[in-house]
Amino acid sequence: MTATARRRKSAPTKRAGNGSRPARRPLAKAPTGIPGLDEITNGGLPRGRPTLVCGGAGCGKTLLAMEFLVRGALDFDEPGVFMSFEETPDDLVENAQSLGFDLQRLSARGRLLLDYVQLERDKLTESGDYDLEGLFIRLGHAIEAIHAKRVVLDTIELLFSGLSDKFVVRAELVRLFRWLKTKRVTAIVTGEREGEHLTRHGLEEFVSDCVILLDQRVMEQSATRRLRILKYRGSAHGGNEMPFLIDDHGLSVLPITSLGLTHQASTAHLSTGVIGLDAMFGKKGYFRGNSVLVSGTAGTGKSSVASHFVEAACRRGERCLYFAFEESPAQITRNMRSIGIDLEPWTRRDLLSVHAQRPTALGLEAHLVAMHRLIDDWKPRVVVVDPVTNMTAVGSEIEVKAMLARLIDFMKLRQITALFTSLTEGGAASERTDLGVSSLMDVWMLLGNPEANGERNRTIQIVKARGMAHSNQVREFVMTDHGVVLVDVSRRADGSVAIGSARGAQQQAPLAEVKPSVRRRTK
């Protein structure tokens, strides 16, 4: 008997079709409905077990627990009991309102039960032996009343401060957590962090199936919230600290979504929308799901390239979302109209949404959450971020790059093709992009306006395009009243390329021998 028990403890590996060892049953989980949290826990909290959520004052544990119940009731048909030892029902209702939750309505419909336990030490006199059977009866009754499948105890540590017999409290809590398992409810128990200790009274000794730690600290003048799965028995989990936000939709945890880089790679191509540019991409355009970087100094035409791409997508009937962090939608529309791109009709037909925002309006995390939400709501196939570079107003280069990495990841999972413009400061080596984000991108196009022969001309080149052959030429283009147009390459007899007015002169000269690698624009 003992030998069997011991063998079961060492985790058996799954064997396909072998049958010599039983496959481990996956741990049942209760989804929290909190974006990001279910991803990093691989499905949610352990079903039927208590999870400890601990952190200092104001770290968000009560709100997390509340959201677990509310989402349970609204999205997963699991009513819940919130037993509060700290906040009054009125406070809870008010705080939940700021997350967009209507607790009173949920209570009225029997999906939520709020029970407030008041244990004021000075109003309580102790005489002789006691136990906490009243707590069991009360909680049991509440669970039965609404057929609850979820329970929150916030924060049960107050039993210790309210009652002097710690020995009894401890023993009764052990009994309570065992009892909760028999009730088949998934519980969140909150604990108050104190210094080095996870909880003030050692709750982690009895609630240790899953432990989540919340943290709030001030970094670079902005308060950042962090969440970490400290422990999750029987399940793989992301163990790193994840930033999270609390706003009027509730909590959002922002993990790097695909920790295993398991994106699907599409082989479908999307036109760049720019005449002559598709051919430079060996197979006629960007891959769907690509991240495209268009960088250049001021006025080189980055937004124009972005708008062409948007227009081409809209023509195909695909929805686009344009995040503008520099110019207003009106400015963008006006500028694009001057080169023959009319974005208005697409907006009217609900194929294009332009969302303008000042970078300084929000912190980086808030920007990321806002963008996630807009993308989730609008469901675009193409996203433009124009530009990304001025995000450094609200974060360091490293932070902005990290934010971009997460955004790109988020979009790749949805096979959204994303185009980012990046402003290179004048004078800097043109191949160095500010932020060094080119490594995150599948495609990198560089726009230039080199001075030659006393004039500035416009150039475009593909620095890289992952997974496809592409032209290595630096091509001249012009801004016409029907948009960006790449011009034919004119080579001199010595093989050098003539651009600008020199090209005009060259084209009148006798035809030079043309190298086979030159791609011609079909008229």
Binding site: T125, E126, G128, D129, Y130, D131, L132, L135, H141, L163
Partner: protein
């Protein structure tokens, strides 16, 4: 109380004796068994068993335990002890 447990039986016995000694003729005891009426646990805000609730005169006072420490109970009830 929650069922006829030793602590609850002791508490009730101690309570009766205490009331007879110090509050003769000036008290009434209502026994609530939460096993029979669990909904009252929330109404009266009870978690500890046994709990003695002094409802009158206001304000409400609560004394928890089997009431074996008589002095404490009297203090808790705000009753001046009668010399026995």
């Amino acid at each position: 109380m929650a069922g006829q447990t030793p602590k609850s039986i002791t508490a009730l016995a101690n309570l009766k004796r205490l009331c007879d000694n110090h509050l003769a003729g000036r008290y009434s005891i209502e026994v609530v068994d939460l096993l029979e009426k669990p909904q009252l646990a929330r109404r009266d805000d009870i978690v500890v068993i046994p709990t003695l609730v002094r409802q009158l005169p206001p304000p409400i006072r609560k004394i928890i335990g089997d009431l074996s420490n008589v002095e404490r109970v009297l203090v808790g009830l705000d009753v001046v002890p009668r010399d026995e």
